[in-house]
C-alpha cells in the first residue's frame, strides 16, 4: 500500500508555531503537576509511615479513590464541579487566570500523587527497620530520621516505578485537552482539523511524545545509576 505523505502542509510556519506552543504547554503542565504530585506523594507516604491508624486509613482512602476513578472523570470534577463550590468572586478570578491550566495541574497532580505515594511507601518498607532504629538512637527526631536517613534510601529503591509513573504523568497530560488546555494533543488535533493530514500530524505528535518519554526514561536510568547504593 502506498501512503502519500505530505509534511509540507503541516510544517507551514503557523502550524509549527502552534505545535511549539502545544509542546510548551505540555511541558509546563507536566512540570506543575509533577511537582505537586511528588510533594504530596512524599508527604502522604511519610504520614502513612507514622503508624497512626486514622491517618493511615485516610491516606489509603485517598489512594484508592485516585487510583480507581478515571483521570478524565477527575479532570471534569475539578474543572466543572469544584469551582461551583467557590464564592462568586473567586470563580471570576480563576476563570480569568487560566482556570483550565490550574485545574488540569491540580487534577493530574492529585491523581498521580496517589501513585507516587505508593511508590515511596514500597521504598520505605524496603528500608530495614534497623535503619530507623539506628537513626532514632542517634538522637534524630522522627522527621529528621525520615529526612536524612530513611527517605533518601527509599527514593533510591523506588526509582524505577517512580520513573515509570513520571512517564505516565507526562502522557496523561494529554487528557487535559478535554477541558480546553491547548497542550500538544490539542494542537495536533487542531492542525489535523485544519489540514486534514491526519496521519502526518499524528506521526509528528507521536514522535514528540516518544522522544520525550524515552528521554525521561534515559535521564531516570542515569539518575538511578548514579544514586545507587553500592552493594556491600
Amino acid at each position: 500500500m502506498l501512503l502519500h505523505l505530505d509534511f509540507a502542509s503541516i510544517f507551514a510556519a503557523p502550524n509549527v508555531k502552534h505545535l511549539l506552543w502545544g509542546v510548551q504547554y505540555t511541558a509546563l503542565l507536566t512540570l506543575t503537576s509533577w511537582v505537586l504530585a511528588v510533594a504530596l506523594g512524599t508527604v502522604m507516604a511519610t504520614l502513612r509511615a507514622m503508624g497512626n491508624p486514622f491517618i493511615e486509613r485516610l491516606v489509603a482512602g485517598y489512594v484508592a479513590y485516585h487510583q480507581n476513578v478515571p483521570m478524565l472523570a477527575q479532570l471534569f470534577l475539578w474543572y466543572f464541579g469544584f469551582p461551583t463550590l467557590l464564592p462568586e468572586g473567586a470563580q471570576g478570578w480563576i476563570n480569568t487566570h487560566g482556570s483550565e491550566f490550574i485545574f488540569a495541574s491540580i487534577a493530574i497532580g492529585l491523581c498521580m500523587a496517589a501513585y507516587y505515594s505508593e511508590d515511596i511507601r514500597s521504598g520505605l518498607r524496603a528500608v530495614s527497620a534497623g535503619q530507623h532504629e539506628a537513626a532514632r538512637s542517634l538522637g534524630l527526631s522522627f522527621t529528621k530520621s525520615m529526612r536524612y536517613v530513611i527517605l533518601p534510601q527509599s527514593f533510591r529503591i523506588a526509582m524505577p516505578p517512580f520513573i515509570n509513573h513520571t512517564v505516565v504523568l507526562f502522557k496523561n497530560t494529554s487528557l487535559a485537552m478535554a477541558i480546553g488546555v491547548a497542550e500538544l494533543t490539542y494542537t495536533v488535533r487542531d492542525i489535523e482539523n485544519q489540514t486534514f493530514r491526519t496521519f502526518e500530524i499524528y506521526l509528528v505528535g507521536t514522535v514528540i511524545y516518544l522522544a520525550v518519554s524515552l528521554s525521561l526514561m534515559g535521564v531516570g536510568a542515569a539518575v538511578t545509576r548514579h544514586t545507587r547504593i553500592p552493594a556491600k
Binding site: F80, Q91, G180
Partner: protein, 320 residues
C-alpha cells in the same frame, strides 16, 4: 441517443416482466394438468417465451450499445412509486427517532414526505449516517438526501443541491446576565467551540481576535460558557436553544446578533438529473406557497417548541 436508450430499456423491462409472469404459470401448470396434456400448451408457451427472450436480449444489446443508458431518475421513481429519502436518525429536531412511536420523524423527514406527496409517490425513509450520507446518494441507495446537508462549493461538485429549505445560523451564545449585547463585544474575548467543528474555521475568518477554547463535545463547551469559564459559545442556533431549555429558570442564554455564519441547507440529489432537480424544486416551491413549509418550521422549531425560533428565510435557490 437518450430516447433510443430509453426505448430499448423499456423493451427489456416489458418483455422480462411478461416473461417472469409466464414462467411462473409454467411452473404451476404440471400440478393442474395431466402429463398427457402438458406437452402442448407448454411448447406453445416455450415458443412465446423464446420470442420474448430474443426481444429482451435484443433490447438489452441495444441498451448496452447506447452506452450508459438509463431512464431518467424521475421516471424511475414514478414507475417505482416510491421516493427513497436518506435521513439522519440522531439529529433532533431534524431527523430523530420519536421515543413514543419509534418512528423516524423531524423537520427533514417532513420535507421528504412533502416532496414525495408532490411527486405523487410514497416516501420511504432510509436512515443514513452523517459520514456516509453523500456516498449513499452517489451510489444510488437513496434518491434524495434530507440530512442536514449544508451547501458548500466543494459538496456542490459532487452532488446537486435543490433550493434551500433551511438556513442554519451559527451564533455566539452568551449569558444574558453578562455584559455582552452584540457579537462584536466579544472581540478579544474567550469563546468555546467543539473540537473539529467547522465553526473553528468560521471564527478564524470572521472574528480572528477571539481566543478559541475547544472542548471535546458540545455539552462541555456549553457548560464552560454557563460557568463563565469562557465568555461565549459558537454553536448552531437550534442546538443552543436545546441546551438553553435544559437550564433552570435562573440562567438565561441568548444568541448575539449578527450570526457569525449562515449555512444554506438543500436536499441533495444526484448530479445530471435535471428533470428530477426541477421536480423537487417545484415541490419545495409549492410547499412554500401552500404554507406547508412554514407549518413544518413551526412544528419543529417554532415559538411553541423549546427552540422558540422564528422563520426568517424562504425556500429559494441557494445563492452559494
Amino acid at each position: 441517443m437518450d430516447n433510443y436508450a430509453q426505448i430499448s430499456l423499456y423493451l427489456v423491462f416489458f418483455s422480462t416482466k411478461n416473461m417472469t409472469s409466464k414462467s411462473l404459470a409454467m411452473q404451476t401448470e404440471p400440478i393442474n394438468t395431466s402429463s398427457l396434456h402438458f406437452k402442448h400448451p407448454s411448447t406453445e408457451k416455450r415458443m412465446k417465451l423464446s420470442n420474448k427472450l430474443t426481444a429482451a436480449l435484443l433490447g438489452l444489446t441495444l441498451a448496452l450499445l447506447a452506452g450508459t443508458a438509463r431512464a431518467d431518475q424521475l421516471a424511475d421513481i414514478k414507475a417505482r412509486g416510491t421516493l427513497v429519502c436518506g435521513v439522519l436518525a440522531n439529529f433532533e429536531p431534524f431527523g430523530f427517532q420519536d421515543p413514543a412511536s419509534r418512528e423516524i420523524v423531524g423537520y427533514d423527514v417532513d420535507y421528504c414526505k412533502g416532496v414525495a406527496k408532490a411527486l405523487g409517490v410514497k416516501p420511504v425513509l432510509q436512515v443514513v449516517s452523517m459520514e456516509a450520507r453523500i456516498p449513499e446518494l452517489l451510489q444510488g441507495r437513496v434518491d434524495v438526501l434530507a440530512a442536514v446537508l449544508g451547501y458548500s462549493p466543494a459538496r456542490a461538485e459532487q452532488l446537486a443541491f435543490t433550493h434551500q429549505y433551511y438556513v442554519a445560523k451559527q451564533v455566539i451564545a452568551v449569558k444574558t446576565s453578562g455584559p455582552f449585547k452584540a457579537r462584536d463585544d466579544l472581540d478579544g474575548k474567550r469563546v468555546s467551540t467543539i473540537k473539529g467543528s467547522s465553526n473553528i474555521a468560521i471564527m478564524g475568518r470572521v472574528m480572528p481576535s477571539v481566543q478559541l477554547v475547544s472542548y471535546d463535545d458540545s455539552p462541555s463547551a456549553f457548560l464552560a460558557m454557563v460557568q463563565g469559564k469562557v465568555n461565549g459559545f459558537v454553536v448552531s442556533e437550534p442546538i443552543m436553544h436545546r441546551f438553553a431549555a435544559k437550564l433552570g429558570p435562573d440562567t438565561n442564554v441568548a444568541a448575539l446578533s449578527p450570526p457569525v455564519g449562515l449555512e444554506y441547507w438543500g436536499l441533495g440529489i444526484k448530479k445530471g438529473e435535471p428533470a428530477m432537480l426541477d421536480a423537487v424544486n417545484n415541490a419545495l416551491d409549492g410547499m412554500e406557497k401552500s404554507g406547508e413549509a412554514q407549518q413544518i418550521f413551526d412544528t419543529w422549531l417554532g415559538p411553541k417548541t423549546i427552540y422558540q425560533m422564528h422563520r426568517d428565510f424562504k425556500i429559494g435557490s441557494i445563492k452559494g
